[in-house]
């Protein structure tokens, strides 16, 4: 109230806050600029030094400390000698350095000479025999001191008796050689105090080659100029530039946001937003943008040569054509199946509606490659089960066929059986939400049920129908599992399989892969944009007065035939393939029936549960998927809070990026990460688990976010406000009210990220390393190289695990959520 009374003071407070914020922003910006500048300077230093590697700088930094230590020991030894002996030793050292190629050895200061010498000798000095080395390093501190002093005296006076430890190596030498050997031994003895010194020397030897470069390195070591800050900057110059650039960018964005808001008080929510945006910028935007840039300028100048080369190659043109035909056909076929199915299951008195609904939804979470494997077993032209049946049934000659899965139609069929649930789920959700009185109004106006479907239901469903269809299209176009298992053996290439093939070819292949990936990316973006436009126009939200039980259409005479038809469909797309997988997993010879003599084994199952390799992959998958799901959930909750509980400016930016990420085809994400995560852009996670986890996160984060956001949107803010007005703190409100209310969605969100990450194949194929193989990739390897029955056992195991998880989730959330 004070501020009300004195508006002047309030204004002054505002101004003070603004000035503080400006100062803070400026400071952060300057820090960012300094980091970037330092990083650039480090980069230049690195280039100019010619060392070529960051490891050299790390070695130089480490050695300059070692050398300083050794130098002090030697100087102490020298100071205890008589003046003439000390001067003699020093001139011997200078002489040796000059002979070694150091032009200005005479002008160096005494201290520098010894530091210099320490490293020089260790790098270039004569070899010590292991006996000598042992004798020297085995001395205790005072004996070592005595030895060095004796040896140093011998440098200027050849008549002095040699210390006992050196006799072996020196007896045959005289003059310069003898002096060098002596110095070498002195250095070795002094260095014995420092345990890590030999490692640092080795590192320097490895990373700095050539006389000139070595001299440069020695000078830097002797000068001791390389402090740890600088060493860290040069050693990680790209990361430092990245951090600096991000900081500057963040400050700039923050400034713009604040200016747009006319609010100069700092808000923590902006930090949340910028944190998420920065993460996505580095791991999602930069890789994809870089990939696009590379596709159009393979040699750092703009050129369409990559695209020209790619698209004049018939195999690639074929792949493009196949991808478009397959995705389009799958879309049409899948939607044509999904709509009547959704209607029958959702709005009629079909027998077993609930069971069918659960069954069709379940196929949504089955890894697509499992379906591909099953259909391969069923429709292989030679030994496919269906083919054998058909031949027996119709007395066909015993030649390949009549069905062949290794063709484009074969692939379309398999894609359809695995992607129609996407449309089914989208359409049934919309159907359940539709106010049934809209249809009743049509009936009472005189329209028959069929006419009602055509004039009311179908037009009302159009937006979700289109959205579902587009989802099927893009999923089919970016699918890798099915084309790689079915298309590759049948020479039916798709864009995704071509990309993976190109990547395996190395550098040139990588360039070509970018060209195809850009095509795929462009298709995905167009689809994403289209479905956004369609859904944005979805204004068909109607007032629903009371919750009426959804009216069901009485199928009457059609009830039994239609139930049989749906049952048949379920048998063909669900029971048949999964049964085949299960049966195959118990076979020894896949060509023979399960009941054939001696063909039954449980060996495949025991094998996958006892092989260390398989279990290791399982462990990897569990860990990677858990980490991705947990990290994804934290971001989802932050996003849920930002989107549903605040009106903060800029909250749409991370939302947009996350949506974009999930719409990006998997192979495109993976390819981008491969090209940018090798350190060139300041992050080096290539061949680590992190690159897989981040890939999963980018692809599936949206699943978790959408769940949490929709849950938050359903909890009216008044529930929280009511808790606060009752005197509860924010934390208490969160733990007692909001938390329990959205817990089911949080659990659901976690599993929605976990499950697809657990069995992911497309990205893993491109990103795995020998230590980060996952269960999905292991299964693929077994299928292609080792044993199909064993691979089927794994596939069925994964299937059971996923169904179990889904069931658990359903229980955990009291039926509110399952996939």
């Amino acid at each position: 109230m004070k501020e009300m009374d004195r508006p002047g003071q309030a204004l002054r407070g505002e101004i003070r806050a603004a000035i503080r914020t400006w100062a803070g922003l400026l400071l952060c910006f300057l820090i960012g600029a300094m980091l970037a500048a330092a990083g650039l300077q480090g980069q230049r230093e690195l280039t100019e030094s010619g060392f070529g590697s960051e490891a050299a700088y790390q070695a130089i930094y480490a050695l300059s400390r070692d050398a300083e230590e050794i130098g002090w020991i030697l100087l102490e030894d020298l100071n205890s000698l008589p003046e003439s002996a000390s001067r003699g030793a020093e001139s011997a050292a200078r002489e040796l350095l000059a002979a070694g190629g150091l032009q200005d050895a005479d002008t160096l200061g005494a201290e520098t000479v010894w530091r210099y010498l320490a490293v020089y000798e260790s790098m270039n000095g004569p070899k010590l025999s292991s006996g000598e080395r042992k004798a020297l390093t085995g001395l205790n501190a005072s004996d070592g001191k005595t030895f060095r002093r004796q040896a140093l005296k011998c440098l200027s006076d050849e008549t002095m008796p040699l210390p006992a430890e050196t006799a072996e190596g020196l007896s045959a030498l005289d003059g310069a050689q003898r002096r060098e050997m002596l110095l070498r031994q002195v250095v070795e003895s002094a260095a014995a105090a420092n345990a890590s010194y030999p490692d640092h020397i080795n590192q320097l030897k490895k990373s700095v080659r050539g006389k000139d470069l070595q001299e440069r390195a020695f000078r830097m070591i002797a000068a001791g100029k390389l402090n740890w800050v600088w060493q860290a900057v040069i050693g990680n110059s790209r990361t430092v530039i990245l951090l600096g650039a991000l900081l500057m960018l963040d400050v700039l964005v923050l400034f713009l946001l604040m200016r747009a808001d006319q609010n100069w008080r700092m808000n923590v929510k902006w930090v949340m937003i910028l944190g998420i945006v920065d993460f996505l910028l580095v791991f999602q935007v930069v890789p994809v943008v870089y990939m696009v840039v590379r596709a159009f300028s393979p040699e750092n100048t703009f050129s369409l040569s990559t695209l020209e080369r790619l698209f004049s190659y018939p195999l690639n043109l074929d792949a493009l054509k196949n991808t478009l035909i397959a995705s389009f056909s799958t879309m049409i076929l899948g939607t044509a199946i999904a709509f009547p199915l959704a209607w029958l299951v959702g709005r009629t008195n079909l027998y077993g509606r609930k069971f069918f609904r659960a069954l069709f939804v379940m196929t949504y979470m089955v890894p697509p490659y499992v379906g591909a494997m099953a259909w391969l077993r069923l429709m292989n032209p030679n030994v496919g089960t269906i083919n054998l049946w058909l031949r027996t049934l119709f007395h066909l000659p015993d030649v390949p066929g009549p069905l062949n899965v290794y063709t484009l139609p074969g692939m379309i069929w398999v894609l359809t059986t695995f992607y129609y649930p996407y449309a089914f789920i989208t359409i049934s959700r919309a159907m359940e939400k539709m106010d049934p009185s809209l249809e009743e109004a049509s009936r009472i106006s005189g329209a028959s049920p069929v006419k009602t479907i055509l004039t009311v239901t179908l037009p009302m469903m159009t937006p979700s129908l289109i959205a579902g269809a587009l989802l099927v299209f893009i999923s089919a176009a970016s699918c890798y599992g099915i084309p790689s298992i079915i298309g590759t053996p049948g020479n039916v290439n798709t864009v995704t399989t071509r990309i993976v093939e190109y990547v395996s070819l190395g550098q040139q292949g990588m360039n070509d892969a970018t060209g195809l990936a850009v095509f795929l990316m462009a298709v995905a973006l167009v689809i994403l944009f289209l479905s956004d436009v369609v859904l944005a126009r979805k204004q068909y939200i109607t007032v629903s007065g009371k919750s009426v039980r959804p009216s069901t259409v009485d199928l009457r005479g059609w009830r039994v035939p239609l139930t049989v038809l749906v049952g048949l469909f379920a048998a063909v797309v669900v029971a048949l393939p999964f049964g085949t997988i299960l049966a195959t997993s118990f076979k020894i010879d896949i060509g023979k029936g399960l009941s054939a003599e001696g063909n039954f084994t449980t060996g495949n199952w025991t094998a996958i549960f006892s092989r260390g390799e398989t279990l290791g992959c399982l462990k990897n998958s569990l860990i990677f998927a858990s980490v991705a799901a947990t990290a994804g959930l934290v971001i989802s909750c932050v996003m849920g809070y930002l989107l549903q509980r605040t009106k903060i400016r800029g909250r749409g930016i991370p939302h947009f990026l996350i949506t974009l990420g999930s719409g990006t085809p998997s192979v495109v994400i993976a390819l981008g990460l491969i090209m940018t995560m090798r350190g060139d852009f300041g992050v080096n996670i290539y061949n680590t688990a992190w690159i897989l986890i981040i890939a999963y996160l980018i692809k599936y984060l949206m699943m978790g976010m959408r769940t949490v956001v929709s849950a938050m949107s359903q909890i009216h803010i008044s529930l929280e406000e009511c808790s606060q007005i009752s005197g509860a703190s924010w934390i208490r409100t969160m733990t007692r009210i909001t938390g329990p209310l959205i817990f089911p969605s949080i659990a659901a969100g976690w599993f929605l990220i976990f499950i697809p990450s657990f069995y992911e194949l497309s990205m893993t194929t491109l990103l795995y390393s020998s230590t980060t193989k996952t269960i999905g990739y292991q299964l693929y390897e077994y299928w292609t190289f080792t044993s199909q029955p064993m691979s089927c056992a794994m596939a069925f195991g994964i299937l059971l695990f996923v169904i179990l998880l889904n069931f658990g989730l359903n229980r955990l959330t009291r039926g509110e959520f399952s996939i």
Binding site: S437, E440, A441, R443
Partner: protein
Amino acid sequence: MATVTIRHVSKAFGENTVLQDFDAVFGDGEFITLLGPSGCGKTTMLRMIAGFEKPSSGEIWIDETLVSGGKTFVPPERRGIGMVFQSYAVWPHMNVFDNVAYPLEIQKKGKAAIRQAVEKVLESVHLTQYAQRLPNQLSGGQQQRVALARALVAEPKLLLLDEPLSNLDAKLRESMRFEIKEIQKRTGITVVYVTHDQTEAMAMSDRIFLINRGAVQQEGTPADIYNRPLNPFVADFLGKVDFFPGEAANGKIIFPGMGGQSLPYGGERRGRVQAAVRPENFVISPDGPLEGTLETWYYLGDVNDCWIRIGETLVRVITGGYRYGTLRAGEKVRLQVRDMMVFPDDGSLEEILSIQT
């Protein structure tokens, strides 16, 4: 127009019986209201007439045609009924004209005829200038009128209205009430109207069927039901009423809760009774038989809402607003009773009063 004959209709969803033995005839041109608290079965009855639900037993006739009953079931589209839904159910993908023209198009009427009929009905609901608008560009009240026009355009013999006004604000509700009544009078159509709003029912109906828990409690004209309720539920559901337990004997009812004061009673009931008096039927008058103290009162403009203590009982009295200057809190007043309903006290009152509309 049409008569609707409902013969012993019952409806159960599984174990749950929602309507029991509904038996009535809705006469030609009548405005019938099915009134009752939510969940009482009134909407189910309406939906059975429309053909969206099948009766578990009983028959429904429209004019001379059996539409539901036994093995016979005429689907809604062939019953020739107009209906307005609570959620309006205006199709969002068609404009106002197309929405209203739909029933005629189904009947394959000629273009010119459709245009003429639609324009006429749109004019009658004052929507002529909105013909080309999409529903989401209309207000709730306008959408409501589109639904009404659509229900009327094919000139059905029977119009069903399912809580059509419950999503409108108070002012609009009142004006729509008159519009619907007006249209009914003009066309002479038979109307079955479902609502839980007693004011709506009173204002519009020729006859009201008051339903509770699946059973008709009373049917009759609004005045009948209001003034001569058959049971405490009916008395309580329509208008305001207070119940006073008493003992009926010797031409009077003695109220133990009012310090033993009594009122004259000429009825036949004896023993424990519940006397029900509507607040507006108490009159403050110097020669009234009851004496109490004016505890507190609220001036509401048109009336004064007074609370008078008689013994341990607090009695609500509504008296004309003009008495504003004459009321004093704490003063002794005497009360006359203009009209009193007397029910036997069977102990069920508590439960009846807890029913919410």
